[in-house]
Symmetry: C2
């Protein structure tokens, strides 16, 4: 059996672009391995370079086709690309590609592309927590662009999108799509809107409706009072790669805006705050859990049962006595 490389060696290999090292590090993240703390520390100096782009949208709008077309476009520019396909509702994940991700196999043999499906197995904090860690791995591995494609809808989508520098909201022509977007809250999170399948009936009205809603909802965004970002609404037929170049141009423009206005640093700091809080919360949860069988907790519980104190006062005492 081959020797298992240590974390430092894995990170070194990942930085050299070795796919197996990248895959193993992401597995550590996904499985919440005991090594995760060491992995995160080892990655810290190398993160923050990649442009992290989130792709979100309802099922059927062509997310995986669009992701594949974006990968091809970035590869044509000789950029290294990482793809995370995140499915908050699925317990399945790993190296195996999911069914509708079959188009991504165009890129499966390209050494400049890392593709990974992630699911929520094992993770206490869920994918909202694991995703930024996996992004760090791909970032440290030298990816210029990391595409985070969220499968599924709703709150988890919004949370996962929160891990991106730039969020692309995909729609397809169809009745009430704009209204649905507003309801799902994705109008607020979109930096670039893409109406895919734009060769279909109704594309014009979907674009018009979106532009109208964006104008109505526009206001100064973080770090942008003097230089506001107006989210563009673009058209693509991703299956024929039509309009994809323009999407990449808009993404580059947004990245430039983020850097110019300081919004990039602001967004990333807010994100880091959330991450630190989530980890701190997990640490405290563990400390509380460790109190099972502790004499202090037992004696407080006995006093509650006897009516000498109440659970709130007992919790105050317990928290005050926590050795942090």
């Amino acid at each position: 059996m081959a020797r298992t490389p240590g974390v430092a060696e894995l990170v070194e290999r990942a930085r050299e672009g070795q796919p197996r090292a990248v895959a193993r590090l992401i597995s550590y993240v996904e499985d919440a391995s005991p090594l995760l703390r060491e992995v995160t520390a080892a990655l810290a100096p190398y993160a923050g370079r990649a442009h992290v782009i989130g792709l979100t949208g309802s099922p059927g709008v062509g997310k995986s086709t669009t992701t594949s077309a974006l990968v091809a476009e970035y590869r044509a520019r000789s950029l290294r690309v990482g793809v995370l396909a995140v499915d908050p509702s699925s317990p399945f994940s790993g190296g195996a590609l999911l069914g509708d991700r079959v188009r991504m196999q165009d890129h499966a043999t390209d050494p400049g592309v890392f593709i990974r499906s992630m699911a929520s197995r094992g993770h206490l904090g869920g994918l909202a927590w694991a995703t930024p860690q996996a992004i760090r791995v791909l970032d440290a591995a030298g990816c210029d662009v990391v595409l985070v494609e969220t499968v599924g809808v709703g709150q988890s989508e919004v949370e996962v999108a929160g891990a991106a520098d730039t969020t692309v909201v995909l729609l397809a022509p169809g009745m009430g799509d704009g209204v649905q977007a507003a309801k799902a809250g994705i109008l607020e999170i979109g930096d670039v809107f893409v109406v895919n399948k734009a060769d279909r009936d109704g594309a014009d009205s979907t674009v018009r409706e979106l532009r109208h809603m964006i104008t109505l909802g526009s206001g100064p965004r973080a770090g942008s009072v003097a230089d506001p970002w107006q989210p563009p609404v673009l058209r693509t037929v991703a299956s024929r790669r039509e309009g994809v170049e323009e999407v990449v141009a808009a993404l580059d423009e947004h990245r430039g805006w983020l850097e110019r206005t300081g919004a990039l640093t602001q967004r990333r700091r807010t994100r880091a705050e959330g991450e630190i809080e989530a980890i701190a919360f997990g640490l405290l949860r563990t400390r509380i859990g460790d109190l099972h069988g502790d004499a202090r907790l037992e004696s407080l519980a006995a006093r509650v049962v006897d009516g000498d104190t109440d659970p709130y006062a007992a919790a105050d005492t317990l928290v005050a006595g926590l050795a942090l």
Copy 2:
């Protein structure tokens, strides 16, 4: 407008058995009112007297009919009874009786009976947390018996059952019921098993199967090595009140066993430990949440973004600096 009575006055009125005071206190619990801490403290000296009985079982076994029959039986003995109908899956609750709880209206005008439906609205910790608090209200209000009827199935049922001194598992004749019970883990939580609708085909085999499974699974239970409790399997036709007297006798016997062996105190202490932990956890969560906008968190986040530290190390620093 009438003056709103303070917590101390409400608790006093509840102890005198005034239904509106009881209802308001339970609303405070259910809504996680800011007054909840005060309410819990005011109730502490008066709790621990009632026999808390949990009723659980799959939909269709006749839980609400059985609850109603048990209420009638206890009332025939001039005992005061509280009923909590807990539905972890429903956002609806309050004074209004749920549809299938219509039989409980037999007791709606009886001043010796408090009936309350509870749902999970607003509660951070969910009903598993709110239920013991509501039980305290009914206990302090002088209920001799509190019946906690859980609507729904699965883990939430097991958690809510954890709030009871004695847990009744209801089943109805039918293929594979015993196996289902084993799968759902209710074989472990049942102190008294009741096969309702015992006039139907298959009742004998359900009873036999259950007795067999209980014998297989029997072992010493908490506080009972020298004096073990063997869960009885009883038959009822609750709609005709057949067998209900025997169920009440078994419940009394179990209560006697709990007191005799010290298991009652042991169970209640374990329960109080869980409650204290949950509240302590909530307090810490609030402290962490209060750090939004805090300079320490902001500076740690900036260092994570700059790659000077990683989120785990930052979380350690944050937790170490928490003023508890």
